[in-house]
Amino acid sequence: MAAEKAEMDKLKKECDALRTQIEAARKAVNDGSMSASAGGVAGLGRIQLKLRKNLKGHLAKIYAMHWSADSRQMVSASQDGKLLIWDTFTGNKLVAVPLKSAWVMSVAFAPSGNLVASGGLDNICTVYNIKAASPKTLRELDAHTGYLSCCRFLSDTEILTASGDTTCCLWDLETGKQKTVFTNHIGDCMSLALSPDMNTFISGACDSLAKLWDLREGACKQTFSGHTSDINAIAFFQNGHAIITGSDDCSCKMYDLRSDQEVITYQDPSLNAGVTSVALSNSGRLIFAGYDDFNCHIWDSLKGEKIGVLSGHDNRVSCTGVPNDGMGVCTGSWDSFLKLWN
C-alpha cells in the first residue's frame, strides 16, 4: 500500500516536472509574436465577397459539408436524413443518399470522388459508393462507443474518424476493421484534419486541446492548449507547419507545430458566439470562420484582424469549406441552405 502510494507520488512529481520542462522549452523559443512580425506586411483592407449561389434542397438543419477534390462537386448532410451531392457550377443536385439514421453530424468526399461517408449519433461511419446506378452502402464502420463527429478519407481504402467516445480511429475499408485507435483526449473529439503530406493528422476536442498524431505510429506527438472551451473545428495551414482551431470560447487560434505553441489568437470583443467551423483560402492568408451568430467572419491570418463577413444565413453557420482550387467558399447553416461566395 505504502509502496503504491510512493510510486504514485513519484509519477505525479515526474508529470509536474515534465509539464514545467515543456512550458520552459516553449517560452525559450517564444522570441516574438506573429502579429508583431506581421507588422510590416501590407494590410488587406476590407474583403467583400458576393453571394453567388443559394443552394436550396435540404428540409432541416445542415450539419456538415465537404468539397470534392474536383472543386466542383460538393456533398452536404442534413438532419432531414439525406446527403445531397451538388454540382456547384449549376446549382443542380446530382445524387441524394437516404440515411438509415437522420442524426448525421459529419460527411466526407473521398479524393477519388467515388465514395462519400457520413455518421453521427448512430456511432457508425457509413461509406457509400455514389458511382453505382443508385447509392450503395459499401461499409458500416461500427466500433465507436460515442457519436461520430468527423470523418475524412485518406483514399478509397482508408478513412479516419473522430468520435464523442474521445478517440479517433483509422479504418481499413477493404476489411471494415479498425487499423489504429488514437487514444489520448479526455473529452469528446469534435473535429479532425489530415496533414498535406498525409503522415499526420490533428484533432480538436471538448477537453479544449488540439493534438497532433502520427498516422502510422498511432501516437500523439504534440498537445496544444490555450482554448478555454470545446474546440469544434480544426484545419491545417497549407504548408503543414501550422494549424487553425475554432472554439466555443468564441476565438480561433493559430498554433505553429514547429514552435509547439500558440502564435496568434483571433478574437473580437464584439463577437460573443462560438466558432463552429474554419477554412483557409489557398494562400492561407484568409481564415473563414463560421459562428453561432449566423455569420461567417473573415480573418487576416497573419495580422489577426477581422476583415470581412459573409452575412445572409438565418441561423447558425455549422460548416464552412474552401475547394482545392480556392475559387470560392461554401457556408452551410441550420437554416437548411448552403451558400457559395467569392
Binding site: 515534465l18 515543456i22 512580425s37 488587406l44 457550377f89 505553429d256 514552435s259 484568409l286 475559387m327
Partner: protein
C-alpha cells in the same frame, strides 16, 4: 470496482501520462520568429494563386450565374 483495481488503473493512467509527456517534452522547437517569417513568406509567395485574395474576373467565375445573351 474494488479499491485495489481502482488504484492500479489510476497507476496505469499515471504511467501513460508520464510516457506521453516524455514524448512531448523531447521534440525540437523552432523559434517563433522563424516560424512566423516562414508563414508570412508562404502567404506572400502564394498570394497570386489565391483567387479569393486576387479577385476573379466575371468571365472566369465558375459560380457566377451566366446571363443568357440576346442577339439584337
Amino acid at each position: 470496482m474494488s479499491s485495489k483495481t481502482q488504484s492500479s488503473s489510476s497507476m496505469a493512467q499515471a504511467r501513460r501520462t508520464v510516457q506521453q509527456l516524455r514524448i512531448e517534452a523531447s521534440i525540437e522547437r523552432v523559434k517563433v520568429s522563424k516560424a512566423s517569417s516562414d508563414l508570412m513568406r508562404y502567404c506572400g509567395e502564394h498570394a497570386k494563386n489565391d483567387p479569393l485574395l486576387m479577385g476573379i474576373p466575371a468571365s472566369e467565375n465558375p459560380f457566377k450565374d451566366k446571363k443568357p445573351c440576346t442577339v439584337l
